[in-house]
């Protein structure tokens, strides 16, 4: 589903973010991408979204080489990938429902479909009572639920989350992870970048560890760090 083939990304002249990264994520997998800040997790996420171009190497997502996607088809590519960010990235001037609806509006879906689907998905993430609340009126965990609802509303085959629990307390984080787990169980490929050790250890999913831009470990039912 997501393939990195010998990918290197250098920012500016000599700030190496990723070095010769090879990674394959199959359809339906749940993968944790772990590592310290600056190890290259976010860079991988942004490369998958084609927000950045790799310095060298080939990335393919959903069977398409990203380098072959012309600029005007990038929005279409992004609609295949739901994404969740550490800082939620909700539109502050829109209610929870409008934020979710926006992701459907950009794909040109019928207003009728939007009206029925948005409350459904918000109910699914446990925010049935907060449809008309603005992001500023919601707690961090609630905002992240809205952003997951937005990422998943069009049922994309892939969902990527960059530090989804980074701003949340442990209890709230459990809820968010459970949500991501449920989304994965209905067949969505989920890639989560995190340094939330507890969460990774509890979930026992595939763990890919990055260190200074290199993949140093890849375990099928892994933990955050191998026991020393």
């Amino acid at each position: 589903m997501i393939y990195f083939d010998n990918v290197t990304k250098v920012y500016g002249k000599d700030a190496v973010a990723l070095e010769n990264v090879n990674l394959g994520v199959e359809a339906g997998e749940f993968v944790f991408l772990v590592g310290a800040s600056g190890s290259g997790k976010s860079t991988m996420m942004r490369l998958i979204l084609k927000e950045l171009e790799p310095t060298s190497g080939i990335i393919s997502v959903n069977g398409v080489k990203l380098s072959a996607i012309p600029r005007r088809y990038v929005p279409k590519h992004r609609r295949e990938i739901g994404c969740v960010f550490q800082d939620f990235k909700l539109l502050p001037n829109k209610t929870a429902a409008e934020n979710v609806a926006y992701a459907m509006e950009v794909t040109g879906q019928k207003r009728r479909a939007i009206r029925t689907r948005v409350p459904q998905i918000l109910e699914l993430v446990g925010l049935r009572d907060k449809l008309e609340a603005y992001p500023g009126q919601l707690s961090g965990g609630e905002q992240q639920r809205v952003s997951i609802a937005r990422a998943f509303v069009s049922q994309p085959p892939i969902l990527i989350a960059d530090e989804p629990t980074g701003n949340l307390d442990p209890d709230t984080s459990v809820g968010i992870m459970q949500l991501l787990h449920r989304i994965n169980r209905i067949g969505t490929t989920v890639l989560v970048a995190t340094h939330d050790k507890e969460m990774v250890d509890v979930m026992r999913k595939r763990v890919v560890a990055l260190e200074a831009g290199r993949i140093v470990r890849d375990r099928v039912r892994g933990v955050y760090a191998d026991e020393v």
Binding site: L49, E51, R72, P75, K76, R78, R79, C83, K89, L90, L91, P92, N93, Y102, A103, E105, V106, T107, G108, R111, R150, A151
Partner: protein, 295 residues
């Protein structure tokens, strides 16, 4: 863009304006000032040109007889002028009549009126033409009769002189208007860009959830269009209103200046100013958003 999206885009545009009220007010005010300046420039230009054109439409030629001419020759010339095909009618003005007119003109300033004797003013023949465009041809015929260049007064001469005097003035005005206009367009662009810069995070989010460039841009461009129009409408109306005030005032107080309401087509000026306002708003938004779409 699907047409049923228009409602969505318009709703977005108006919502954005409400939420960014201060920026919207700034953009609208700047546009209004810009359109006002442009409109004023257009008016001054139109009226100066109107005066010049009006003088050119004068269908009279005056030819002055030299001092030493005898009555026989005068009659001869008068008869041949009557025969020109371009001439509607002609009238001989003797030295005495010229003096009489001069005294009438300066009736309220007896010092000037009394200081002139009938010898000073030349006799002349005043010729009314059928068509002002024939003035040069008639002037040529008069030269053939023996008149010197400085003995003939005809509209084209006046027009040429007026053009000479007003030429620099008009171009100076146009230059100033253009400079002001460019400055205010840049100001509008900057205002719009500031308001869009404040929302660049939103644009980034929109792009990340898969919005196409045009989907993000359309509400901004509509916003620019509405702001441009809101700014331009009062400014354009003010310009047209001030024009009618000016024309009325000039006709009352400056009767010897041929200022006419016909020099300015109010409707065309109005539409032109509205168009410029809308265009500046649309272009400003379009180019400002474009910079932030590269996500």
């Amino acid at each position: 863009m699907r047409s049923d999206n228009l409602g969505f885009f318009l709703a977005e545009a108006f919502k954005n304006m409400r939420l960014n009220l201060l920026m919207s007010v700034t953009a609208v005010t700047t546009t209004a000032v810009c359109i006002l300046i442009l409109g004023m420039g257009l008016l001054v230009d139109a009226h100066v040109e109107g005066i010049v054109r009006n003088v050119g439409q004068d269908v009279a030629i005056t030819a002055f007889f030299p001092e030493d001419i005898d009555q026989e020759r005068i009659d001869e010339v008068a008869a041949s002028v009557e025969g020109y095909p371009e001439v509607n009618e002609s009238a001989y003005v003797s030295k005495e009549e010229a003096l009489e007119r001069f005294r009438e003109t300066f009736a309220e300033q007896p010092d000037i009126a009394g200081s002139i004797s009938s010898d000073v003013l030349p006799a002349s023949i005043e010729i009314q033409l059928n068509n002002s465009s024939d003035s040069s041809a008639v002037a040529d015929r008069l030269r053939a009769e023996g008149f010197q260049d400085d003995e003939i007064r005809y509209p084209q001469q006046t027009v040429d002189r007026l053009n000479q005097i007003t030429g620099y003035l008009i171009w100076g005005l146009r230059g100033a208007t253009a400079l002001f206009f460019v400055a205010s367009v840049l100001l509008i662009f900057n205002t719009i860009r500031l308001s869009i810069f404040a929302r660049r995070k939103e644009i980034e989010v929109m792009k990340l959830v898969g919005a196409s460039d045009s989907f993000v841009r359309t509400p901004f461009v509509l916003e620019g269009l509405v702001q441009g129009l809101i700014g331009a409408i009062p400014a354009a109306l003010l310009v047209v209103w001030m024009n009618s005030l000016f024309v009325g005032w000039a006709q009352e107080n400056l009767p010897f200046f041929p200022i006419s309401s016909g020099a300015v087509n109010a409707l065309i000026v109005l539409l032109f100013l509205l168009f410029v306002g809308a265009l500046v708003g649309v272009a400003g938004s379009f180019f400002s958003v474009r910079r932030f779409l590269k996500v």
